[in-house]
Symmetry: C2
Subunit: 194 residues, 2 copies
């Protein structure tokens, strides 16, 4: 499942610095988003359902960003989109869908979520060596929980699973996305308040 | 609907400082969480459904906090809960459910969301004049999107509305909560990055 990952430029899972968030912290965050062992199984089911649909999902997400200039501007500079940048991020974004479903949520996973947070702020543009707006504003990390969650449901329903299974996969996805985004926010938050 | 509000100590809707977030900013955030005019109508429907259930909802939410010491500790100091503090916040929390459903999301609403954000951080404890832990940590603002959203569904389904109406009310609530929490985060976020 992760065999192709070395082919994705800038995808450095397992090779990044340690997150300031510990596995003990994570345990409490998982309790807060109600993420159970059963949810982990439904995330894996979601992963199997979404595996061959990631390009279609990315079409929807990129379509959403592309049709809203205030979002698209983060992928460029002075209203000029950087197509190479969009394409590089897209590959990692697709891998992230699979990672969200299949990876163990352990210290290595925490480390990579922190890296992704940094790549939205102080390390933005570095990974792909591009000249684009310097940061993604915080407001769109949290608010993106909705489109990233809501748009996934039709894809979860497309492989013949029961209504109950789709609902359970959807709820597990919602929990995982909210947890993930909370972690991505760390670099934005004032010292000592996370 | 808001006639009882002056009876809630510390509830100062319409009497607080201007938020740094403008109505133009809000318009983009509403687009990002996919909050449509139809959602506003479903929020109002949710408000009518939830109106006489707020105490039961608060029982669920307080039960969740109370059964997790790492959450309950924010309502006290050195593991001693402050019951008067819990009771004061509860009244405003109930009013907040109604405000989320019925208020116009305008500058006054933005101002009050900013005030609520401040009351989780630099102004925590001031409103109720209590001696408790000094801040709510950021991590629990974002992760609370899940319990505050997921637990509302059974209450939305309790008044005989169709499955479709319950689903639409639930989705509108999810969008509203995510938008609201994003605004509450403002005081936690580093200068210039919101």
């Amino acid at each position: 499942m992760h065999t192709q990952t070395t082919q994705i430029p800038g995808y450095t899972y397992g090779e990044v610095a340690t997150s300031p968030v510990s596995e003990a912290d994570l345990d409490l965050l998982k309790q807060t988003v109600l993420l159970s062992e059963e949810d982990v199984l439904y995330l894996q089911m979601a992963g199997r359902v979404l595996k061959d649909q990631t390009e279609d999902i990315l079409d929807v997400w990129y379509g959403f960003v592309g049709s809203h200039p205030y979002l698209a501007q983060y992928f460029g500079k002075k209203d000029q989109l950087n197509d190479a940048y969009l394409a590089s991020v897209r590959k990692r974004f697709g891998q992230w869908i699979m990672d969200t479903c299949f990876r163990s949520y352990d210290q290595q996973w925490l480390n990579y979520q922190h890296e992704i947070g940094l790549r939205h702020l102080v390390k933005k543009n570095q990974t792909d060596g591009v000249d684009a707006v310097p940061i993604i504003h915080f407001r769109y990390l949290v608010t993106f929980i909705v489109p990233i969650t809501a748009t996934i449901k039709p894809f979860l329903a497309r492989k013949g699973n029961s209504v109950g299974e789709v609902e359970n996969m959807y709820n597990a996805w919602f929990k995982a996305i909210t947890l993930t985004v909370a972690l991505w926010c760390y670099p934005y938050v004032k010292e000592g308040t996370f």
